[in-house]
Symmetry: none
Subunit: 256 residues, 2 copies
């Protein structure tokens, strides 16, 4: 690839990146966590990964090994030694921290933060989420430039969240807030009510023939129990046919 | 700890477990993922971990190494070789899968599923989420007993989610989620899953005895059709008893 092609390829990347908010990893320690974070980003539709001062240098083999479908994000990541450079172009910054000391900022949940990020993108801005190193989290200097604290809700009894999990639930809010849930295949419509009533009639007649509704004072309760269960079940037309065939098979005289 | 203290400590555990839905890992392969899943559960306030047929046996050192604050969940986990045993007491089951083949169930997002789980707990039921092995996911037989599919929204271009991430975003919805919708009147709790599986077994045996599953190449589809329909129906324990009585009555030799 010559220089001109290389420049063009790089120029193409930022456009693709603007689809969702940026994820910024500051001084990450374990390559495994960087890779797992990239994978989770890709799973949930994010692509703009930035890394400031990774402890073990760059590229990182362990990150590659963990990234799976997120590997292209590692290759396209902006990696720099300077934290401030990684957030320079962002217009709305959330800093993930459980311990903002000596400074006050509003704390928002991932859901609220992502809603604000979405609105920011809609009006042409560029939001990002900043995550600190595994052991110590972000320093005060790294939290200070943020608009707000990203406060992921955790059980106070077990509040230490894995870095990739923190990125994962944040990225999840990008995908979960956006689209209707996927529908797999053709969702069949429940059977017309007449089919279900036919099923119930057939079952009751077959049971009557066996003297099932006994003793008489219990019969009506027994019928209602069956009707209620089958009417509520939401069977499809095909399922009703299957169940009617099953009842017929049971009601027949046993074969010799 | 003497025996009495030990019993008391154990007696205390199930109570703690009922606080949130169960997480069931079926045939998990990597100890690291089991440990990371336990940690994410603990982060987000879940405690009832169940494991069916872990590939590398139990206990698992790699799981311990990854669990951090989730280690107590590993020690308290119910580990069994039998998948059906792990869901026997559950009254509402979601199966995490991206590929439900040859059977139809409604797909719900983690957010919707967790709202339903919360409502189920509020009325005295016991919900759970079932996750399959890393490489292959749940089998059809493992999806069939579920009430619905848990469909975690992902980018179709990168849809393979790490097991611990899948558990993580689901558990996150427990901690992050909205309140349960109000319940009006006495809503009966669905039967424990073991009852429903017993009903299905009885029906299949009775039908087998009549030669119902014919021709052979159609038999498996016919079985799945019946299983899927009955697993999804939300029968109460009393309704299951009624239906089992009905099947028994039909399966008996006709009275002269």
């Amino acid at each position: 690839m010559d220089n001109r092609q290389d420049r063009e390829a790089k120029a193409g990347a930022p456009q693709a990146r603007t689809a969702g908010p940026a994820i910024v990893l500051v001084r990450p320690q374990l390559g495994e966590n960087i890779g797992a974070a990239a994978r989770a980003m890709a799973n949930f539709g994010l692509s703009d990964l930035r890394i400031a001062a990774p402890r073990d240098g760059w590229p990182n083999e362990r990150a590659e090994a963990m990234a799976a479908g997120g590997a292209p994000l590692l290759h396209a990541a902006r990696v720099t030694q300077d934290f401030q450079e990684t957030i320079a172009d962002l217009t709305l910054v959330f800093a993930a921290t459980a311990r903002p000391r000596d400074l006050w900022k509003a704390a928002v949940t991932p859901r609220e933060a992502m809603a604000r990020a979405r609105a920011e993108i809609a009006r042409g801005g560029r939001p990002g989420f900043v995550f600190g190193p595994e052991a110590s989290g972000l320093s005060n200097d790294e939290v200070a430039p943020a608009d707000a604290i990203l406060a992921i809700p955790v059980d106070p009894a077990c509040s230490s969240l894995n870095l990739a999990q923190a990125v994962g639930v944040t990225a999840y809010e990008w995908m979960a807030g956006e689209e209707a849930p996927p529908v797999y295949g053709d969702t069949p419509v429940p059977a017309p009510r007449a089919d279900v009533l036919g099923l119930i009639d057939q079952l009751e007649e077959s049971l009557d023939a066996r003297g099932y509704f006994f003793p008489p004072h219990r019969a009506e309760t027994m019928r209602q129990n069956l009707r209620g269960a089958l009417a509520r079940a939401g069977f499809t037309a095909e399922e009703v046919r299957g169940l009617r065939g099953a009842i017929k098979a049971l009601a027949e005289r046993p074969r010799k």
